[in-house]
């Protein structure tokens, strides 16, 4: 069996979630190859070649792959698919965009966001915002899978010595073009791989008030997240959203501030090792999953926390 893992990257560095995807691929058994498709991304291929467990890296460089647009990426993957039994990617927005297109072109089901490999054809995946776990068996000869990265350990970034081979580009579909991007810039760790995450909700009342969270985040080396309500209200950008339909995180420590704990939010953070809730409403459902609950006004508690952390 050979598994092709689609690398997530920005043409400069390999995305962290790819390491988790490689682990899932390894659990399937067989050889693991990584596809790095982009433009001017040879350094990413070299990085992927060092990842433990990777046997081969395919490098497809072309201007049309620079922004990982789904139509051309899917065409490329399908052109390579004959040699693979499984095509797999981390369930990032990029993986979620591209892989279902690949699956449909191959006339197979996609198995979305697996959290466990039971056997090479059987997987566990969350449904209903993680309130139920389904064990599904695939009857397709070729499998297309996305992986929830928080459920698979990261493969070692070094130790491997895979060969890098050039893959030829597929024909340009000409269906879409890149116009621009507005990416959030932050010196803080990435939300999905941070060891500590501190998130704010509607209780924060404004975007300005998020600086209270950010001060604490910087003392803890934490990433900052948010509930949907805080994003909808425009306090913070969309990429802060944690939850069923945002990002899934599972840090060592998750601190929820002014967040009520709706099931859609819990879906994105309930696998965190330690959960802290700070909320002025002692009935807030977030306390039902919190290891440590503090009933307090966040505008008093956050400055105190900042103070206490020295």
């Amino acid at each position: 069996m050979t598994v092709l893992v689609l690398a997530d990257h920005d043409n400069k560095a390999l995305g962290a979630a790819t390491l988790n995807a490689v682990t899932a691929a390894t659990e399937l058994g067989g050889d693991v190859h990584v596809l790095v498709a982009g433009n001017g991304c040879a350094a990413v291929a070299d990085e992927a070649a060092k990842v433990a467990g990777v046997a081969k890296v395919l490098l497809a460089e072309d201007a049309m792959y620079a922004d990982a647009l789904a139509e051309n990426m899917a065409a490329l993957i399908v052109s390579l698919a004959d040699s693979y039994d499984v095509i797999l990617a981390a369930a990032t927005t990029s993986g979620k965009n591209i892989l279902p297109r690949v699956a449909a072109l191959l006339d197979v089901a996609q198995i979305s966001e697996i959290v466990e490999v039971v056997s090479p054809d059987t997987f566990v995946r969350p449904i209903y915002a993680g309130n139920a776990m389904a064990t599904v068996q695939s009857s397709d000869a070729k499998k297309v899978i996305t992986v929830r990265s928080t459920n698979f350990a990261a493969a070692a970034a070094t130790g491997g010595s895979a060969s890098v081979e050039a893959a030829s580009a597929a024909a340009d579909t000409g269906l879409s073009t890149f116009v621009g991007a507005e990416l959030s810039k932050s010196e803080r760790p990435e939300l999905t791989s941070a060891k500590i995450v501190i998130s704010g909700g509607r209780g924060m009342q404004s975007g300005d008030n998020f600086h209270l969270l950010e001060k604490v985040a910087d003392k803890l080396g934490a990433a900052v997240g948010a509930s949907r309500a805080a994003v909808d209200a425009g306090f913070v950008p969309n990429d802060y959203q944690v939850g069923q339909t945002g990002k899934v995180v599972a840090p060592q420590l998750y601190i929820a501030v002014g967040i009520s704990g709706a099931i859609q939010h819990l879906a994105g953070m309930k696998d965190s090792k330690v959960i802290v809730a700070i909320n002025k409403d002692e009935e807030a459902p977030i306390f039902q999953v919190a290891d440590y609950g503090l009933v307090a006004d966040l505008f008093k508690a956050l400055p105190e926390l900042d103070e206490a952390l020295g």
């Binding site: 927005t93 089901a109 309130n131 599904v136 990002k247 420590l253």
Partner: protein, 249 residues
């Protein structure tokens, strides 16, 4: 210009679902059902395009049992012009739904298809992408803004790093994210009016589509349950516990 939107009948987002004791699935008896929230956003976007004079007709379709008619009626009450129900009592996987939608699209010839990015029951996040693939169309997933201009659609997408804007050749498939719009409620007069709007019924056989599943659900279980912990009285106590008990800071 014609817009096709798809709506799915799902367990209401406020319902705390229960797994069946025999582990065969989720208990849907006497549970409140609603339109998938992302599909409400899809319907709303279609309606706004019509109201802006860009689209001339908004057709809503659904794949599901007879009861999915209610979901279509909701779309019609919001303002969609007519409905198409592809009736089946089988559980249809995203690939099957995409194939059924392709068959309907070949009959209806829409210029734009808008669907929700994911259904909140199976959380698959696949149908729109699969449909675009099967039709050979462009795709704009996780959209927070859609602007149509001549033969192209400019779509701003919510991605992990922030926002990305792409230009799609039309016809195109767009999948909605939460920030695309705020869907309207159907007014009482419009609910009454919707009762008279046509809903066409078809079956997968009529459309010549094979919807046999590719996945077999072996079991459905409760997730590991998290126990509530303790209350702390002060920030000082919290910091002490995090340092000395949990060892996480």
């Amino acid at each position: 210009m014609k817009v096709l939107v798809a709506v799915k009948r799902v367990v209401d987002y406020n319902v705390k679902i229960r797994v069946k004791a025999d582990k065969t699935g989720v208990d849907l008896a006497n549970v409140k059902m609603s339109m998938n929230p992302f599909d409400e956003i899809a319907v709303e976007e279609g309606l706004r395009l019509r109201e802006a004079g860009v689209a001339t007709e908004v057709v809503a379709m659904s794949v599901g049992p007879q009861a999915a008619q209610e979901t279509l009626r909701t779309a019609l009450a919001m303002g969609a012009d007519r409905g198409i129900l592809v009736k089946t009592d089988e559980t249809v996987e995203p690939l099957g739904v995409a194939k059924l939608m392709k068959a309907v699209a070949e009959e209806e010839k829409p210029d734009l298809i808008i669907v929700g990015k994911q259904a909140i029951d199976d959380d698959s996040n696949q149908t729109g992408q699969m449909l675009a693939a099967l039709l050979g169309w462009s795709q704009g997933t996780f959209a927070s803004e859609v602007n149509l201009d001549g033969g192209t659609a400019k779509v701003t997408r919510e991605v992990d790093g922030g926002l990305q804007t792409i230009e799609l050749k039309m016809p195109a498939v767009v999948t909605t994210d939460l920030r695309l719009n705020e869907p309207r409620y159907a007014s009482l007069p419009n609910i009454m009016k919707a009762k008279k709007k046509p809903i066409d019924e078809k079956t997968p056989e009529d459309l010549g589509v094979d919807i046999s599943p590719r996945l077999k659900t072996l079991k459905v279980e409760e997730p590991a349950k998290r126990e509530a912990g303790v209350r702390v009285e002060s920030v000082a106590e919290l910091v002490d516990k995090l340092k000395n008990e949990a060892g996480v800071i």
